[in-house]
Every structure is written in structure tokens, then in C-alpha cells.
Symmetry: C2
Subunit: 329 residues, 2 copies
Amino acid sequence: MGWIDLTAIALMFAATPLAGQESKPEPVTPASVVAASTASEWVPIDPADLLVMDLAPDTKGAEREVIVQLIPPPFSQGWVGNVRTLARAHWWDGTSVYRVVDNWVAQWGDGEDDPKKAKPLPAGIAKAPPANFSAPLPCKVYLFQKKVLKEECDPSVTPIEGIDPYVLKGQTGFAAGWPVAFALEGDGNRIWPTHCYGTVGVARDIDNAGTGAELYAVIGQAPRQLDRNIAIVGRVIEGIEYLATLPRGRGEAGVYADAALRVPIVSVRLGSELPAAGQPRFEYLATDSKSFADYVHLKANRNDRFYKVPAGGIDVCNVQVPIRRVAAQ
Amino acid sequence: MGWIDLTAIALMFAATPLAGQESKPEPVTPASVVAASTASEWVPIDPADLLVMDLAPDTKGAEREVIVQLIPPPFSQGWVGNVRTLARAHWWDGTSVYRVVDNWVAQWGDGEDDPKKAKPLPAGIAKAPPANFSAPLPCKVYLFQKKVLKEECDPSVTPIEGIDPYVLKGQTGFAAGWPVAFALEGDGNRIWPTHCYGTVGVARDIDNAGTGAELYAVIGQAPRQLDRNIAIVGRVIEGIEYLATLPRGRGEAGVYADAALRVPIVSVRLGSELPAAGQPRFEYLATDSKSFADYVHLKANRNDRFYKVPAGGIDVCNVQVPIRRVAAQ
């Protein structure tokens, strides 16, 4: 059986050392760099910034828990505030995943078109958060393609090695653990999060930006055309497969034509509202750390034996920020 | 309920015309351009270039048919020849999908590591096709980022509007209906197919390029780092969801730890070997047509009302070449 990823091969070799052969040094890989990172390079994620969504068990009775990390300031905080209010009100309990489109999104919430039948929103929901899909970048740097012009930049913004087709006068990279794009726009720099696999965004209509009650997760090729057109409120950090493997909808726009196919949402809770022992604990590899820089560089320039032709570049959505579970405190 | 794609909105409007309002002209969209294309812009796909893979029915008894289009010359023809031989020998009948990794691949074939237990390959299989992952481009054009230098180029190669992070001295685009990259390499131009969602490639080990007996389909973000490192033999043009929705493997490297979870392959046939009335008939929008150029341009510069900030560029894997079923002849 052939493999197509060095991670797999490394596992196979680890399982079957070649006795009698002189061992060569293991090549440095993205995975080995992450494994060798120091504890101080990891940043804990506050359980208050996590949503725990329990779908109804699958047909075999297996649990399906999806964990979403909410995006930090300066992004989308009007919608993120609504999402927190909705979670505290247990508003999503009893709603469903009602739309699944292959190579596009899985979408959940009330799913009711008729305003008269729609589930009422809890008190405190901003009906129309200001449609700010980007934020000022406190920094005078900008990067155009591979040419870097730096001035007093925020050092926590790390540009990626690679040009980006969606950012003509700017660049992509990472800030506080999140994939971002930033560009010179008019009189200053702006920064915004990018739509990647697992990104959670706010479904909207043409003339409004949505409240955050109807959400979707990306389950295919990064739909970067949505950047700055839709509010990103988070990303799935565990359990995306429970959304990605749902049957695709056959109704209009990928909605389940038969309401019986909707996947019930048992509950959505903020991680901080769960009993202390059950609170989800995660940490991410700081995106301004040495290990992260090495990880991205190796992702863009694969030098292990499987890869004969390293690309020399990478796109921001093909770099998964390392995130791992840690023991409950 | 909010939506996140104009296709959906267009459908909603079509269903509920606003009586009494003066109708505005519908905006031109990628979908409307395809709908308005002429019959002469579409190219039939020979059933001899299709693989029809029938998986065992799902738990509800529903059929799962996956259709793969084989890649045309000059790409990967050593492997494509093997794939045709394997299909004619019905070699995949009774094998399985044995490895599924979220945001990565679904892989099928014999899935046996031990050469002594492996299913014998049929006569006529080239054990080691020459590892040519790219082809000469009969053309002296090359494009570097957005700067186009043209000389006597093959007019069937259409560059995309957008730079590409994986092709430093070249560009991406489309040739004969397929997403490709091309670049100046040493003494001449080379062209190669790109790994996108749905791409079918040949699983391989470190020291060989595989035979084509073990195949995978991409079910996540385009793994462009595999370009020129693995042979691409085709793409799924129908039924990718039957691979993308399979449960993810929990064993080493995403293999199903329990062999009972493997998804049986009932049969794989070349489309031309099926009874005439049952042969699959598809056509694709010619990638050197006016409508395709308009389609790509609009994908890169969304001007419909849903999109407030058009990106101004796109990546080659975010342009799905329009492919449609046609009536049997």
C-alpha cells in the first residue's frame, strides 16, 4: 500500500525499524518541529472562548462533539458578543444543522425562512452589528507580494512565505494564532481573518450582515472570496469531521429537503459554563514563536525524502495552526 | 435564515418574485455566464476516459457511485495506462476504501502492506512508470506573478487572473479543461496538473512512484505541496460526496483500525465497458472559450450584490471547471 504523506511514513518506520542498517538522522519535518517545541511556546485557550456543540448521536449511537474557538478582538466582536449571548441563553439547544453543501459549508441554527415562524432571539442580541469585516492594523508595515516594507509593525503579526492571489496590495500571515490577511487600503493598513477549512462564519442576506444565530463551518476548499464579505466568528478546533461527513442536502441551496434529515443540536455551551472538570482545555502554538516560523517554512519547503520538488511557497489556509488538547486543570 | 452564496439567493428570488416592484436587471454572475454559454463551447468527455466506481450501498441502502475522469496526455500516461488495465481486469472489484483522513484524502485499493498477502496485479501493469510528474510545455510563454511574457504560446493554455503561492517562476491556469501550473524551469517551460478538491492521485512510497493500483481522492483544502511529487491520474466529476462523507479512520495514518469499517468497492469499470445505454455522458465548458474566461473573471471579481469587497484574484483550485451530465446518446 502506498502513502502520500510523510507523517504516515514516519509512523510506519517507527513501527518497523530496519535492523542492521545504520540509522540516518531523521529529517526535520513540520511535525517534528512541533514535537520539539518548548512548553513556553504554547498559549492556553480560555474555555470562555470555546463553544461546545453536541450534535445528536450518529446512527450507531456515537457522540458527536464539535468545539469552536471564538475569534479574539479586534475581529467581529459585535457578532462574537451575540454568539456568547445565544450560547448563554441555550438558544441553539433544539435547533439543527439544516444545510450541508459539498466542498462548501455545513450550516446550523433555526433555519426558518418565515420571520413569523422563526425562533425568537434572546434579549440583548444586537440585530445589526456594524458590518466591520476588517480592523485597523496598528502598524505601518505592508507587504506587497514578496517585497516587504516595514515600519514600526506590530511584531505579533507574522507574514507567511508566499504570495496570495486574494490580497493584491498586501500579504497573508498569522496574528495571535489566527490566519489573517493584511493590506494597505486607502489611508492605512487593515487586517482581517481569512476563510479556511473549519472557519465558522455568520450566514447573512444581501442587505444585512446577520446576527450570528445562523452559523456555518467551511468543509471544503478555502472560500477566500468570502473574506471581508462575511463576519468570521471562530473556527472548529475539534470535531469538524462530524460536520464534514454529514449527508449533503438535496434541497434548494443544499438545505435538507426532508426536515427529518436535519441533524439535531442537543446543546451549545460556552466552555466556561461547563462543570470545571469537564471544561475543554486546549492550547495553540504561538504564531510569533520560533517553532511556528520553522513549521511554516518547512511546510512551504518540504525537504523530507517523500517530497522531490518542494513548492517554495504555501497559502495561508494550507498551514494548520497546531492546536492540542491538554489535561483539565 | 441567512445565506452565504449568491447561487442560493438567486434561487430564493426566482421562487419569490417581488410583485409590484420594477425588476432590475439580474447581475451577471459566474452561474449566469455558464447558463448563457453556447452549446459549441462544451466539449464531450469520452466514456472511455471515465471510471465508474460503485461502492457498497450505504446503511440506508442508497447507491454510491463515484465517477472519475482520467487525465489526458501529456500527463501521467504511464499510470493512466495502468489504471485502464486494472479497470479492464476488474481488479478493484472486492477491494475497498480503507483510509480516510479529514481535510486530506480518501484512499482505496487493496490496502495490504505485506507484499506476501497483497492482491496480485494483472498482467501488463508497469511496475514503475517513469516518474514524470510534469510535461514539456510546447510554448515559449511564461508568466511571472502578474507579468505576462508571451511568445508563440499554445493558445489552449489559459492563464488565470491571480498569482499563485506555489509557482514562483510561473503561473496557473487551465488546459483542455484541467487546472494546471506552468513555469520556466531550466531550459524550457514545464506544465503539470494541480492538486485540488476531488483530484485523484497515485499513492506512493518514498522510493517509488506507485503503480496506480492504490488511489486517493482529495477531500479537503488543495494539498498543492503534492504537485510534481505525486502522479495525478484524474478527478472525481460526480459522487465525491460519497468519499468525503465517509467516517474518518482512527488507525495509523487514518486507516480504518477495524477492517470491518472498510467500505467495499463493488466494481470499477471504464465507462466504455458499460452497456451503451448506461454509459455515463458528460461534457465540460471549454477552458479556452469566451464563457469560461468570463466565468473565471467573475469568480475573481464578484460584482453581484452579495459581495461588497471583490477579491480581485482567485486561486486555481477555487475555480471549479463547469462539468455537466448530458443525455445518453
